[in-house]
Amino acid sequence: MTKTITDVICPFCGTLCDDIEVVVSDDGKQLLEVYNACVIGSEKFLHSQAKDRVTKPRMRQDDGTWKDVSYDEAADYTAQMLAKAKKPLMYGWSSTNCEAQSVGNEIAEISRACCDNTAAVCHGTTLIAVQDIGLPTCTLGEVKNRADRIIFWGCNPAHAHPRHMSRYSIFPRGFFTGKGQMSRKMIVIDPRVTDTAKMADVHLQIEQGKDYELLNALRVAFKGEWLPDVVAGIPKEKIREAADMMKSGRFGIIFFGMGVTQSLSKNHNIDIAIAVTKDLNEYTKFSIMPMRGHYNVTGSGEVFAWQFGFPYSIDLTRGFARYNPGDTSSIDLLVRGEVDAMFTIGSDPGAHFPISAVKPIANMPSVCIDPHLTPTSGVSKLHVPVAFNGVETGGNCYRMDNVPIDCRKVVEPPAGMLTDEQFLVMVRDRLKKLKGAA
């Protein structure tokens, strides 16, 4: 006999779908089938069942081989590493729950670490822009119930957030949007003809990196002022068409992604996108929302903020929290060689940082807490595999619109495996003894 568990939350992307159904074996130890999830989410659930999974912590030996160690030994190494380091970097946090993040913050406070999450390489520049100019936004249900103008700017939900359009933004029939897709106009701004762009009513195939110029042109077009014939590769007629479409809606939203946060103008792109949204509120109702990547990067920012006052890129080395991206941000700290120990959890900087920021990790004491084998575990001294959060343990997470959703445990982890939180508690307690903290 098998059991079906409903209302399961998918721990992959910031869409945080909570309608997944999972079939498990009668003893609750095996996950057999996954329904409703996208292909990535299904893979996430099913891969947790892989037979070749690493279940014990491992230390890299001098000869390059791995040696299995106990969780106790792993916690000892981690605590001693953090206690000794002058400026440890504790990075990641986006693929674990808020309870683990909380314990991690205690550890960071005791060891006076630098703390950062994956916003560093994703929506960090968005946060800087929000600090400059604010953020008119809404929950995803508002989009479903009211929105008749959907703009995807520099993001490709068809690939990165596969169920976003069907659950919230394009297809659903909401309270005031009874005709679903027919009630909505869709605009996509992207230098490629992405699979999202192919669905759009209007696709502005912008010259890569010219987002600021095009957003600025839209602000001009709203006011009906003079425009050059072509801006960012887009003819002015098309810009005016898009501007009119945006103004004529009853409720609109701009979703934006890495296309704007990672291009050269960085936070300035977001600044002006938010300014565009503010402008539109003079004519109609408009919101803007970052398409957050990891399923709980938003939660990490929230926990950091209520405990330390800043959402990412935090330096605790002076005994109180400081924040100055560019100075206290992970990539810069690593590239400048300021960090003397690396603690990674719930993310993969080895794969997702520029290689010049990865090289230093290989040359310092380092711990990687991750259920998977990754480039980060591949260059770390200690790899601590843990239970899959959202599959083998529950815990609170925050969706891209900041809505908290409590993840569910659907199967038991392999015998003897700890969760992130359990392992972090072991590290914290050891560190307290080492540091003589209260």
Partner: protein, 570 residues
């Protein structure tokens, strides 16, 4: 558990009518006791003031909009960071302190209970995570109901019983404490960029008026017999002339009587009254309406209010009154954040600088002080700063100084750039009243506790009540040499006890106590229609499933305290 006896302090306790008598306060098993054994630790309080722990009735201290404030205002942390110290975790933030700092700051000022004034139901888990991480003080949170689609649909047909059943359900799943109403109907209108500026403006699509929403919610609140009354932030906040809308709102409670077992007598609590007491037609002829509002409230005993004192600081405004925040960013051009929440509410955040050099700010300051000075019954008027909207809660000692000392008020008035305007547009200059310590205890302890339905537990020093006690370095028998001494005394307590545990000693944190989350558990008769409506809304319109909506589990509410209400009688 330790026993304590606090000896020879000057005790002020409105619950027992004690007005500064030298009395010993005994603490045993977390409660105030008649007597304790000889093993009790002795606290010498001679020459000091002893009161119950203070009760905050309205502050924005936990949840999504507070944290949005923290996230988007790194500048608020400048010069306000506190390092790890003994038991204290590190903190930061002036107008929106981190959760740890929030708990410590309240405790150090002698506060032991605080209410988060606006919880978006969908974000209840977030609110409770922050409450969990706010040490020492007991906290509850008010879910917002005034723009909730269920409420709008039921009250359009005046379905009180269904509204009540929905309230009971929502309080249970969000672990909420009371019925909060913010800009009734106006916030729903804001989802389309509109607003309701009077109690009779129809809500777009829903075909109901703010007046019907407020009346219906009061009826439902009393039908259930909840500990707290409906807690309202009326329409038209912050605009010149808004006092008339406020009076229209207050009149909706006429003829209504409180029905509950908690000793609460009011049916409507008007919050941050200062923001709702403006006369005039524009910012040029802006003037105080404090007299009109307090005259009405003085005559109508079923209404309580809190003040919303402007403290003349740089701060961060935040409210579920979304259209107001949009209006405000248009006035001051500072960064605007807004979040519309599906089917329920909205929130806006804008920084604000209450400058003593701007006449409107100075007049707001005066109105906030006129209100408590004009109120005849201190048991019905409570001191707040609507933290952080009119100023941070850490300024309570300064507000107390202004209320207790005419000299301190005059000093401030003389420092205003537009002193003449303040004096001509308000009556602050002619108010000679100085608040007594007994009245202060009414306004910050016994009064708010009673109106929250917590009068049996806290806000007083009667044996059997929770041992929440604050001892201030303030000698009531000596004349006050300098009004600033009042502020100093109320800033840092000599001792604070929370449920019988010493949490503050000589102004420092020495314990984290047994922090509780207060919520209201209402039993109602089965109501299949409401359950079906809830189910349908989740299937069709919410972006999350009903099964994932509830804030359930130890990681959200590790130490709950439920006030039980049985409303199955009808």
């Amino acid at each position: 558990m330790s026993e304590y006896i606090i000896k020879n302090g000057s005790v002020f306790d409105p619950v027992q009518g004690i007005k500064g008598d030298k009395k010993d306060i005994a603490i045993k098993d977390g409660k105030i006791a008649d007597k304790v054994s000889s093993a009790a630790k002795v606290i010498d309080a001679s020459g000091k003031t002893v009161m119950a722990g203070a009760v905050e009735i309205h502050a924005h201290i936990a949840g999504p909009k507070v944290n949005l404030g923290r996230i988007y205002r790194p500048e608020d942390k400048l010069f306000s960071c506190t390092p790890t110290k003994g038991m204290e975790r590190m903190g930061g933030g002036a107008s929106i302190p981190t959760t740890f700092k929030t708990g410590y700051e309240y405790a150090k000022m002698g506060y032991t209970t605080a209410m988060e004034a606006a919880m978006p139901p969908m974000f209840a888990k977030h609110v409770h995570e922050e409450i969990r991480d706010t040490p020492i003080i007991d906290e509850g949170a008010f879910p917002v109901f005034g723009n909730n689609w269920f409420v709008l649909e039921y009250l359009k047909n005046h379905e009180i019983e269904n509204t009540a059943a929905y309230i009971a359900w929502l309080l249970r799943v969000t672990k909420g404490y009371a019925v909060k109403v913010v800009n009734p109907g106006g916030t729903e209108a804001w989802a389309w960029g509109l607003n309701c500026l009077s109690v009779n403006d129809p809500v777009p699509y829903f075909d109901i008026t703010p007046a019907e929403i407020v009346k219906g919610l009061i009826e439902a609140n009393e039908y259930l017999g909840l500990p707290h009354s409906v807690h309202i932030h009326p329409n038209n906040l912050g605009n010149p002339g808004c006092y008339e809308t406020t009076l229209d709102t207050l009149r909706l409670a006429e003829g209504m009587k409180a029905k509950n077992k908690f000793g609460r007598e009011s049916v409507m609590h008007l919050t941050h009254t200062q923001f709702h007491s403006y006369k005039g037609t524009n910012w040029g002829d802006f003037e105080s309406g404090a007299k009109e509002i307090t005259d009405y409230v003085n005559q109508n005993k079923n209404i309580t209010i809190d003040t919303g004192n402007v403290t003349l600081d740089e701060t961060t405004t935040m409210t579920a009154d979304g259209p107001f925040e949009h209006h405000l960013t248009g006035l001051n051009h500072l960064k605007w954040a807004n979040c519309d929440v599906e089917l329920e509410t909205c929130a806006g955040v804008v920084p604000y600088i209450y400058s003593p050099n701007i006449s409107v700010c100075a007049i707001q300051w005066a109105i906030g002080l006129e209100i408590p000075l004009m109120m005849k019954d201190p048991m019905r008027c409570y001191i707040t700063t609507d933290h952080p909207n009119a100023g941070p809660f850490t300024r309570y000692p300064r507000v107390i100084k202004w209320l207790m000392s005419k000299k301190a008020r005059d000093t401030q008035i003389n420092a205003f750039k537009h002193k003449d305007k303040v004096l001509s547009q308000t009556s602050i200059g002619s108010l000679d009243k100085e608040l007594s310590l007994y009245e202060l205890a009414q306004m910050t302890r016994a009064g708010p506790a009673k109106t929250l339905g917590l009068g049996h537990m806290c806000g007083g020093l009667k044996p059997g009540m929770d041992a929440d006690v604050a001892v201030y370095n303030f000698n009531p028998d000596k004349p006050v040499a300098n009004p600033d001494d009042i502020e100093t005394a109320f800033s840092r307590c000599a001792h604070v006890f929370k449920s019988g545990v010493e949490v503050v000693k000589h102004g420092e944190i020495v314990g984290t106590g047994h922090k509780r989350t207060l919520w209201v558990n209402v039993k109602v008769n089965d109501n299949p229609q409401v359950m079906r409506d809830i189910n349908e809304k989740f299937i069709k319109y919410y972006s999350m499933t009903q099964a994932n909506y509830e804030a359930l589990g130890h990681h959200f509410v590790p130490n709950p305290y439920a006030l039980e209400v049985d409303a199955t009688h009808v």
